[in-house]
Amino acid sequence: MIEIQNLTKKYGQIVAVDNLNFTVERGEILGFLGPNGAGKSTTMNMITGYLPSTEGTVKVSGYDIAQEPNEVKKRIGYLPENPPLYTDLTVDEYLSFVSELKKVERSKREQQISDIMELLKITDVRKRLIRNLSKGYKQRVGFAQALIGNPEVLILDEPTVGLDPNQILEVRNVIKDLRKEHTIVFSTHIMQEVSAVCERIVIINKGKIVAVDTPENLSKAITKNSRFTIKIAGVKASVIGALKAIDGVKNVEVSDKVEEDVYEYIVDSDKQVDVRKPIFFAMAKLGFPILETKEEELGLEEIFRELTTKNIVVSTESDNSKQDASGEAPEEDDQAEEKEVE
């Protein structure tokens, strides 16, 4: 549905987006993740044809954005970082203007607009000037704009910014519902959002892809250690001693005292070795019952921090193999960051 090849954007010497390669399948929700200034918005601007790329191609439904921009633009709904709202129009007027722009058939316009307003719960403000709406409403009117014309592809740049927690949940559900008919790429720097909505994520940092995979696989790929939380009834000192003696266990910490002589331990171990059985037998030998064992998944937050603060490149997908994994220090791109905000 969307094919991105060698996509690069340079501003003079500054490389804002560096040789991106990824594809998005029809009906997929792709999370586009990265710290501020990583090149998310620039990439999205290039996919939607707002900015021309320095190098590389973007194809949507087989149409190249540089060759047939109108064919691509017809198929894309775009919610940029700052919703493009004409504040001196009412919501109704604004959305009908967008319908005309997107060349929606006259007979379908009204129905489509009211359906979208219903979906995003903005029907009650339809007669009001956009200028007078709260941030949350403005954001949703911007979202509504992207849905007009029922485009196959939705590109959403931080769609939940400025919403309250309830609205965030609503918008996430809307995005999930939209998956049935649309291909969605959405960017965010909020982790839970990705795990809540996306099937696949692309993490970029300093203009480069650092990871492409499902949230689950990423969490597995990045962790070298397994971490277990184990609740054991028994004398603390001897439990720790016995645990540390087990082959593969790297670290043992007491995290919580549950009751007298019952403690919760955090055990970090080598991922290659399954330490659960040895732990069981060691404790059985001591006569200390294990009350609970839980394997901790490393959260996306940690993966994100791990990937974007160090120069690790995880290439778990074949189409990403062109990425260089040498881990060379990326250029300073503070200026690119400033530019991107604009």
Binding site: T42, Y50, N70, L85, Y86, L89, E93, V98, L101, Q145
Partner: protein, 240 residues
């Protein structure tokens, strides 16, 4: 194109700007009209050439048109609505022409309001209709090139104020070129006469409609609109 045109026109008439500008324009025109007709009536002049008044009114356009057009592109850029236009299936020329036609329509409305003055003349005296029509034609053509120029200054900046000031000052200097004529002669005089907007406009006011002058204004308008398109395209390539 039609969608942009309709939306722009709506924005003009939703804001007080179009009304205020039209009001000021008609007011100033009215005062000038009054002083002229009264003084001439006192001298017993029966026929008033309306073209001369329209010629005077054109000096006001130097100030009013840039204010009318200042927000057209500057605001789109500032509010980020440009992104919506550029990612919609509509081309840059369509956007520019749509916006030009909307601003031009407002200008035509303003101009139409001044029709009240020749009507007054024709009721109480003799109106030279041919001269009035030819002057209006010149006025409208001059206005079209001003509007196109105003769009151009609006396209090169994010600030409406800068767009307006730049437009007014530049148009004022173009007007001053006329004054240079007293200083030069020969080939330079010829060049200035060819370039001077007012020299071309004067022809219409003197009831001379020639293709040369019409082509001059139409191509001037076209040139500025093309410049706007170039500026917008150029910025897409260079900005972040």
């Amino acid at each position: 194109m039609l969608s942009v045109y309709k939306k722009e026109l709506r924005t003009y008439f939703y804001s007080p700007l179009a009304y205020v500008l039209s009001g000021i324009f008609v007011l100033v025109f009215g005062i000038y009209f009054l002083t002229q007709t009264m003084s001439k009536a006192g001298q017993g002049i029966a026929q008033i050439v309306f073209g001369g008044q329209l010629f005077f009114a054109s000096f006001w356009l130097v100030m009013l048109i840039p204010i009318l057009t200042m927000r057209v592109f500057a605001e789109e850029r500032k509010n980020g609505t440009e992104v919506l236009l550029m990612t919609s299936p509509i081309s840059v020329p369509q956007i520019v022409i749509g916006k030009f036609l909307a601003a031009f329509t407002v200008f035509l409305t303003m101009t139409a309001l001044t029709a009240i003055f020749p009507i007054i003349i024709s009721i109480s005296g003799d109106l030279v209709i041919s001269n009035t029509l030819s002057s209006y034609l010149g006025f409208v053509l001059l206005g079209a090139s001003f509007v196109a120029f105003g769009l151009f200054t609006s396209s090169i900046t994010e600030s409406q104020i800068i767009a307006a000031v730049l437009g007014t000052v530049t148009l004022f200097f173009i007007l001053l070129i006329d004054q240079l004529k007293t200083l030069v002669s020969g080939i330079f005089l010829k060049i200035i006469n060819q370039l001077s907007l007012y020299e071309h406009y004067k022809q219409f006011v003197q009831s001379v409609i020639s293709l040369k002058d019409i082509v001059f204004f139409v191509s001037l308008t076209g040139m500025f609109l093309v410049l706007v398109m170039i500026v917008i395209e150029k910025r897409r390539w260079s900005q972040g």
